[in-house]
């Protein structure tokens, strides 16, 4: 045993050292250009949507609210119930397919422009730049010994990050609990324990992921980053360095174009702007999130040198090797067809959704009773759920056995929007009309105002066999 342990513990020291080497902090340099602009616009739109949408009201309720305490989802005019889980599944499948589709077509568009990890890291980087200054200043500050000034700068950065994270956590919880009530109870310091917990938990996750983990989330944690290459082919848009044109790289005087050198002046700016700290000139790497920062900065440099742009650019493997680029490939057609089909299905399903659900629960105490008149009686509770956006009045009727009678408050059952009403009914039937111990009967529940809200639900009528 001890001899086995020996090499392992001897290995320990270099492993730990390697760990520190691997966790080198990355200071992405600020970049301007077409793609930086697009990225900033996407960031503003997505963050605006996240922080703003929860404050919009719609017909007296929050426009988008996943009301977990009440087990219903509001999305503008629609109310969804646990029974509508199917639609959520469909929506998730459509989202996954859309991701595959865009990946096959344009590579890691999602990672570079729309992924929450990227978006929040960007905004955290922006705060960092506003407080600590440019990349050079940040590196210098980190190397400097601790001083009152350094402490002040670092403390204010973390304070701003933490405040922003808490606001993010608050907004997140605001999608599950009405945000106005949440805001009021926060001001009055009467937040519930679970809400407080989730605000802190989500806030902490934001702070950790966007402030500290950053590119490590993409490299170590993201499942999509691991399998996205499976959706790539030779016609997929990738960010690539034109090796033929760039090599052999080397520095030179501005305005010159030495014949023995390629167009890459080896300024290293493409490495400095990279949020994951890779060198795009090493070829396609799975760490590349496709943010296109290196394209912007290299185009800038090429402009200054008087060379044509596009040494680093969006291209495809086929284009790089001088082959024809095909946009419509079998996989693209397949993904888009499936996407169209499922989206149409979802829209159709939601449009024709019956805004009423009826559950029938048999009385558990007795299978059946016999009344004084000799009739067989079965007792049921109908749970009538009004999934419409207005209060509705329902009428209940029953069919299935000759001469059967329905007793109870079965007419003009008023159910508020989004409410469940228990309707206790008794069904009477003459035993001579019963053909077996168990007969199938059908309850009909119909809305007076909305003819679409109509449901037939089967039940069992039990009785003796004569």
């Amino acid at each position: 045993m001890s001899t086995d342990k020996q090499p392992a513990s001897a290995n320990e020291a270099p492993v730990e050292q390697e760990l520190y080497k691997k966790r080198q902090k990355i200071y992405p340099r600020e970049v301007h250009g077409v793609f930086a602009l697009l990225r900033n616009l996407a960031m503003l739109a997505l963050l605006g949507l996240f922080y703003g949408l929860c404050w919009i009201q719609w017909n007296g309720h929050q426009a988008v609210l996943f009301d977990l305490p009440a087990r219903k989802f509001y999305i503008f005019g629609w109310t969804f119930w646990p029974q509508d889980f199917f639609f959520l599944t469909l929506l998730l499948i459509i989202s996954a397919l859309a991701l595959f589709f865009f990946t096959a077509l344009a590579g890691r568009l999602w990672c570079g422009f729309a992924c929450p990890q990227t978006v929040w890291t960007e905004i955290f980087l922006w705060f960092e730049r506003k407080i600590e200054g440019s990349r050079q200043k940040q590196i210098k500050l980190d190397k400097a010994p601790m001083s009152a000034r350094k402490f002040g700068i670092k403390a204010s950065k973390h304070a701003v990050w933490l405040l922003f994270s808490l606001w993010t956590g608050f907004t997140f919880v605001g999608y599950f609990t009405p945000i106005k009530e949440l805001w009021d109870s926060m001001l009055a310091l009467t937040l519930g324990p679970w809400e407080t917990f989730w605000i802190l938990f989500y806030g902490f996750a934001t702070y950790g992921n966007a402030g500290w983990m950053r590119e490590q989330v993409c490299i170590y944690m993201c499942p999509y980053a691991r399998f996205q290459s499976a959706m790539f082919d030779k016609n997929t848009l990738i960010i690539s360095y034109d090796e033929k044109r760039g090599e052999p790289r080397g520095s030179r005087k501005r305005g010159t174009r030495p014949a023995e050198k390629g167009d890459c002046i080896d300024c290293g700016l493409c490495v400095q702007v990279c949020p994951t700290g890779i060198d795009i000139r090493d070829g396609l790497q799975y760490q590349c999130i496709g943010c296109a920062a290196c394209i912007d900065i290299c185009d800038d440099v090429m402009d200054k040198m008087g060379y044509e742009k596009g040494l680093v650019k969006y291209t495809t493997e086929n284009a790089l090797s001088g082959k024809h680029v095909r946009l419509l490939r079998p996989r693209v057609i397949f993904y888009s067809m499936l996407l169209l089909l499922l989206t149409a299905g979802l829209i159709y399903g939601i449009a024709t959704r019956v805004p009423l659900e009826v559950n029938i629960i048999r009385d558990r105490n007795a299978l059946f009773n016999t009344t004084n008149e000799g009739l067989v009686e079965n007792v049921y509770t109908l749970k009538v759920i009004n999934m419409d956006s207005e209060p509705r009045t329902f009428d209940v009727s029953v069919t299935g056995i000759e001469g059967m009678k329905l007793l109870g408050d079965t007419e003009a059952v008023r159910v508020e929007t989004g409410a469940v009403k228990d309707v206790l009914v008794r069904v009477h039937a003459d035993p001579v009309n019963l053909k077996s111990r168990s007969s199938e009967i059908e309850f009909h529940v119909e809305s007076r105002e909305n003819p679409d809200a109509k449901v037939e639900e089967n039940g069992r009528f039990l009785g003796p066999v004569l």
């Binding site: 086995d4 290995n11 760990l19 966790r23 305490p69 679970w194 499942p223």
Partner: protein
Amino acid sequence: MSNDTQAQTEHNLPVVQRIISVLWPSFLVASLATVLFFVVFDPQELGMLAGLPEVTRTGGYTIGFFFFWFMGALGCALTCYFRKPCPPRIRTDQAD
């Protein structure tokens, strides 16, 4: 030989990645499990059955999520533990 190098690289995984490989997959699975489970079961009714009527729905979801996370993490941790290379078998017949 190839077995050796694989054991080597697994042992050399950065600590961050080792922690993540336990906590992260279990987190993802717990999120999914929470959604699927609570679509079918109402936490309030479960609380009633368990004799804990004071647990609110939000509380039920939270407890459920962390329960699934803990269970998933336990599974991941055991997987990691059993992936560790075993000491080689001592062959007495050959040693003699």
